[in-house]
Structures are given as C-alpha cells and as structure tokens.
Symmetry: C2
Subunit: 463 residues, 2 copies
Amino acid sequence: MRRLYLLLFLGVIILFPFKVFSQSDGDMLKNIFDDALTNGHSYEMLDYLSNKIGGRLSGSPEAAAAVEWSRQKMTQLGFDTVFLQEVMVPHWVRGKKEVVRVINSERYGAFELAACALGNSVGTGDQGIVANILEVDGIEALKKLGKKNVEGKVVFFNRPMDPTHISTFEAYSGAVDQRVYGASEAASLGALAVVVRSMASNDDDIPHTGTLIYKDGVKQIPAFAISTNSANLLSKSIKSQAGLKLYIEAHCEMLPDVLSYNVIGEIRGLENPDEYIVVGGHLDSWDLGDGAHDDGAGCVQAIETLRILKNIGYRPKHSIRAVMFMNEENGLRGGLKYAQWVKENNERHHAAIESDRGGFTPKGFTMTGSEEAYNQLVGWKPLFEPYGIYDFGQSGGGADIGPLEEQGTALFGFLPDSQRYFNLHHTTADTFDKIDKRELELGAASMAALVYLIDKYGINGKN
Amino acid sequence: MRRLYLLLFLGVIILFPFKVFSQSDGDMLKNIFDDALTNGHSYEMLDYLSNKIGGRLSGSPEAAAAVEWSRQKMTQLGFDTVFLQEVMVPHWVRGKKEVVRVINSERYGAFELAACALGNSVGTGDQGIVANILEVDGIEALKKLGKKNVEGKVVFFNRPMDPTHISTFEAYSGAVDQRVYGASEAASLGALAVVVRSMASNDDDIPHTGTLIYKDGVKQIPAFAISTNSANLLSKSIKSQAGLKLYIEAHCEMLPDVLSYNVIGEIRGLENPDEYIVVGGHLDSWDLGDGAHDDGAGCVQAIETLRILKNIGYRPKHSIRAVMFMNEENGLRGGLKYAQWVKENNERHHAAIESDRGGFTPKGFTMTGSEEAYNQLVGWKPLFEPYGIYDFGQSGGGADIGPLEEQGTALFGFLPDSQRYFNLHHTTADTFDKIDKRELELGAASMAALVYLIDKYGINGKN
C-alpha cells in the first residue's frame, strides 16, 4: 500500500514536478532571500561571537559567555520563548604550548614541528617523552606491525586526506579514524604517544586539533596533530635517517565536568504549537581559533532563520526552534541531552536542520529520513535553483541532531561549498576574517526557506 | 528542416539524456579532475604571476614581464607551438596617490575619502579642483537635473549594486554604467569631475578602479572611485549639510601606445590541425592589486587546461590553444587583434572558452551560440554534476573572445561562484592570498573537461 502510494507520488514528481509547490512559494523564497541579503543580522552577530567572545571550548568562560550572549540576542530579537537547558559538559584544557621536536636529525640537528595536542588528550608531564618514531599510513598498517615493532615508540599516523574527492568531507571521513582512534590503537600495542598528520586539504604550517576518543580499559597516551608541512618534512626525515627520535611535551588535562547549557529560542506555532521544527548549530568551538566557521556560522544562521521568518511576517503552523547545542566538539552532550529531553516531554519533532559545515556559499541539503521525506525535498529543488542551490542527493544530517533520528524526526544537513573548510577547520585560522558576508547570508536564507517549506507542507517522515 | 532536426534532438536529450555522451567520457572527466587535484600546476603558476610579477596594467614593465613569463612557462610545459602576437596597447599611468577630500564639513572639518582614479581618467593638474558636490543615483537622474544644476560641480554617482541579485555580476551590470559613462555624461552638462561609488558587494574602505570610456567630442574630466564606506559617509554628510565641497587631485595620464603581445600556446590536433578550440584569460590586470583573481586565475587555468590534457595523454582531434589576451581591462585591443588575425588567416574556430570571473569554485558555463550548441552543452550536464557543476543555463561568453562571435565561434564563459568577487575586483585586495588552491584547480579541470567534450564531439555552432 505504502509502496504503491510512493510510486504514484514519484510519478507525480517526475511528470508534474511543479505540483509539489505553488507559485506563492517562489515569492516567499524571494522574500526570504531578499530579507537575508538586505536586512541580514548574521554577519554582525558572528562578528560579536567570534571577535568579542572568541574560541569557546565546552566548560570554558568563553562558552559561558556564548550561552549568555545567545540568550540575550534571541531575547532582543523578540522570539516568543528563550530558555536554557542544563547539560553537564566535559572540561578539557590545553595548558601551555605543546612541543613536538625532532632531536637527532643528522642534517638539521634539532628542529620543531608545528604541533598541537588533540582534544581530550592527556599530557606528558613536565619531563616530556623521548622516543623513536614509527610512521604508518593508518590503523590497519599499525596492527599488522604488531606489538614488537610498536612498543616504546611514538606512532606517526601519516595518511593524507585524498585530494581527488570533490567533497572535502569525504576526504576527511577517509582519514579521520587516525585522529579519533589512533591513540588507543597504538597504546594497546605499547606505544608511548601518537602524532597524527593534520586533517587538512592544503599544505601549510597550521596544525589541526580535533577530538580523540580513548577506548575503555586501554592506557591513555598523549596525542598530537602536526601540520601537513611538518608531516611531509618528518616523513622525509624518517626515510633518510634510521633511528630518528622525537621529544614531545603537552600539558593538557581533563578537569571535572562543568554545568553548561543548550540555548533555545522559539517562535510559537499557530496551528500546532506543540509540534516542532528545529534549526541549529553548536555553540562550543575549539580553543585555537575563534570558531567563526565551526560553528559560529551555524549558530547565527539558526538565529537568523527565525529572525527572517519573523521579519517577513510569516506565521508558522508549527513551533520553530533555534537550538544552540553545547559540546559538539568533544562529547556531544548537548545533542544527547536535547533528544532525551524531547523524548521525556513527548514533544513531536517533525524535522531538524543543522548547519555545521561552515558559513560558505550554499549548495544544497543532505537528508536522513523516509523515502517520502527525501522525495519531498527533491520535489522542492526547482524552488532553490534560482539561488544556485542544486544538491539534494546526499544522505546525512548533523551530529547534534543525530540523536533525534530514533524518534522519527527527518534530519537535514545544510550543505555549503566545502573547498575551503579543511584549510581552517579546528585551527588558529578559523577566524571571522574568513567569513564572507553574502555567503553567510545566503546560507541562512536557504535554511529559512527549507523551514518555511517543511512548516507549510509538513514532512512525510517516519512519525 | 533545421527546426525539425532540433526538435528530434531535444527529444533525444529529454528521453535519453545519456545518449549524448558515453561511459568513457565519465572516466575521462575523472582523469582530468584527478590530475588537476593531484598534479596541478595552476596554483604555483599563479603564485609566480601574482607575487613575483604583480599588477600588470597594459603597457607597464610588469605586463611585459607577464608576456615573457607565460611564453617561457608554456614552452617549458612542452606545448607544440608557443608564439607572441603583436598588439599596440594604451598606456595609462596612475601617477602619485589621488586625493578626494571633503574640505568644509561643519562636523568634522576636512576629512579624506578612500579614493582612486578610474582607469583611463585624465588628471586634475597639480592645483587640484575644488567644487560643490552633487549626489545622484545614476545617469538618468543626472540628465533630469540638467545643465543649470550640474555646471561647475563634482557629480557623485552613488547608486549601489543591488544586493538581492544572487549573481553579483548581475548586480555589477546594473550599476557599472555610472563608472563607464558617468564622466562624459556629467561633462556634457558642465561638471568639473565625477566621483563614483565603488562597484562593490560589501561595505569597506577599499576603492575599486575600473575603466571609463570618454565620449568623442566631450571634454575629458577627471573621474574617481571612492570606497562604499566613504560613499555612505559622503552621502550622509551631503544630506546633513548644504554646500559641501570637495578637493580632488589626481596625476594620471594617458601616454603613447606601447607594443605588447597576446601570448599563444598550442597543442596540435591530430585529425583537424587547422581547426581550433581556444581557452583563454587576460594577462593584463589593474595596477592596484596583483591581479590574482582578475585575471591571473583565468590565464593559469587556460595554460593548465592544455597541461592536463597533455599529461593524461589525450591527443586532441583539433588544435587546442591557450591564449593570454592583452589589454582586456582598458581597451580590449588583444581580443580585437586576435579575432582580426583569425579572420585574416581564415582559421576555423569551433569554440572559445574564457575564464574571467575569478578563480572560485566552478558552478557551470555560460554560452553564446546556436541552439544546437546550447543543447549540446546542456546534454553534457550529467557528466559535470559529480563535480558540483550544475549551472548551464545562462547566456554569455567573455570580453576577449567576444569578437570571435561574428565568425560563428561558439563562445563559453567559465562560471565560478560569484559571491566574493566584487569584494576584491579591481582593488588592492585582489591578491594571491585570496586564492584557494582547490577552487582554482577545480576550475581548470572543468575547463579542460569542456575542451575535451567539444574536441571529441565537435560543437554544432554556426560555422
């Protein structure tokens, strides 16, 4: 029955694609984009969040400032309800500057590599660690070498992101296991520490941090990222000289959990106020830059989505929520808490949209949900094409909204151009000066447009 | 007859879109993109052209260096033929820094505006000009005011680019008449000089130069651009105080024409060596930045197109030419000369592709040519979609290749993302650090892919 219905539905899309929306929707999207491009607040908001507050790792004073800033901002914008949702978050601190130094190069003597500790890493203690280096191109290669070759060494994971992927996120997915799981895999074979080639699309001197996950029951060893240039140099040095040794030093530590918050702003629905559409980003960022693209952009675009709909006088049927999730980067506590809270309160969530791929020119949306929902999204494509937005084919959602999936919420991921993202992701280079105002505004508008369409037509998700 | 054929052809495209290319074309495009992303030379070439040579206005020593650099570069890359084509170009020089100063503000006293002379402008002489300011929102408004209101004044053209256009080029087209024709229109009503709001998408302190065209028989008066922030401030000042006066000073002049060159590199065709496909950019740039996006990017992408095809072992049927046109910015002499030369030599040119919209992420191609050629281009769209390239609907070509149209050459314009272009176009901000390596490489690959398809299938142009 359902399958037959689906086939009929698909037939309608193919033969009469313009039946799935009306002329007035085109006018509404024009209003939305015009408002974003002429009255936009997103750039100004992100300037404040990035330049006045700055990097805001979970548990930091800056994260607390970001919570209070977004609460005030959404209140000032006149959203119907603004509230905080308590969540305990991990509190990792980097401590003083890390050192990764080659100490016995026959050619150069001692030289420093551009390095930073990975997020959640333990420190080395003040005395640091000296050990021989073992270069591998990934976890599988490491396992093949076995304990006798690994024990007592610093393992250097050096598989680059594959540049031939057009989506840099695919290249990232193909390499990031080294950063996330490398430390525990190496520790289980007796390694003293790991050094990981930065997850970067380009060759430069900037190390990229990012979370690692320690496996339960395995010794926690220090873990570092080094820049791609440093990785290339280190690899070349290893090949030309046996017995190369590193000195490494880091002072990071995990402190007790801290009370923090998801920050939620809401426009009340007219017809179904107890049914929700969520749009969100994560408020925490890494400590190295100011988190402008990751994910200040997503936060201000979520706020901007509600501001635009309100400003153009759209009265939604369902309640629309902007959610600033806390602790995406090193714990996902905010996303988990929100989904648990939704479940406990038996709140029906039709759809959730997350922006967490940077504030670049919009290209489309990814989706995770039912076939009907997917076909609905594809049916709206002609409405987005005048704005240069064409890509509705890929599956995906977002880390923070992922936990809502089990409740049947249709999940959408905002998909901007990805070419520049992994030049700055999780680094000192993720700063507000890398934001283009129009790109940011177009992204916010595309999110507002999708919220509008979902609100008007509903979404044939699983619930 | 032709119409019937066209309908049948369209039918084929709609019902069997995959009939217009083969599986092996998909593999070839993959080879092309992989080569650009792994062996690419475009970024390194552009680094040299931008940072070692720098801004290269027609007639300047830097333009001569750029000619010699591109000749050497294409020779080193082993193209079958590399040659120079003589062309006399205008030689405009800016002279010492311009001044645009409000001299009698009741609020601020005297203050400077961020300004530069427009390209081809005459100077003011050492004594400068002092005059009252008249603000207008365009040429039509100016004409309505008439001679009695304009005479003896400095006309301030202040109509902004419309931010609601998604393509910033459309916004540019809607405002640039003020810069190109404003001076002569104002002069014909007795104005002493003009000041034009910069053609910019953003609000900042950077003035944008660009060419003006003096009308024959009308007095040539000095013309300046001021930054968008300065334009906003000046407009506000004019509204709050009657009789506001400007002091303006510029030392630019037009010197005698200089011998320069188009630089041409060629891979000889196997089957039809006397029939051509051209890919090009313009080698000259404005003097203020280093011309990385405008149009160093287009030049290195043209060279890179031939390098890629050669490197992957593709042997073209037709001869493929990379043409670095000289003097696009303030005369178009190179483009006119090339077309004239092609005509004199009776060379058949099937297609020409120009990259002159910056080195950003590729979105598609514009086209000017026959309906058949347009349908061919659209038929190839599925081959480009895996690379995020979707936009094949708009008409257009490029300034330098425009003169080939009368010979029936199908004209294609490389269409990258346009959001950031008019933040830097014709300014001190158009520098190599604004180039993203992957974006540049993807553009080059998309041009090589189009050349390959045109070479393989021919193009049903007018000739």
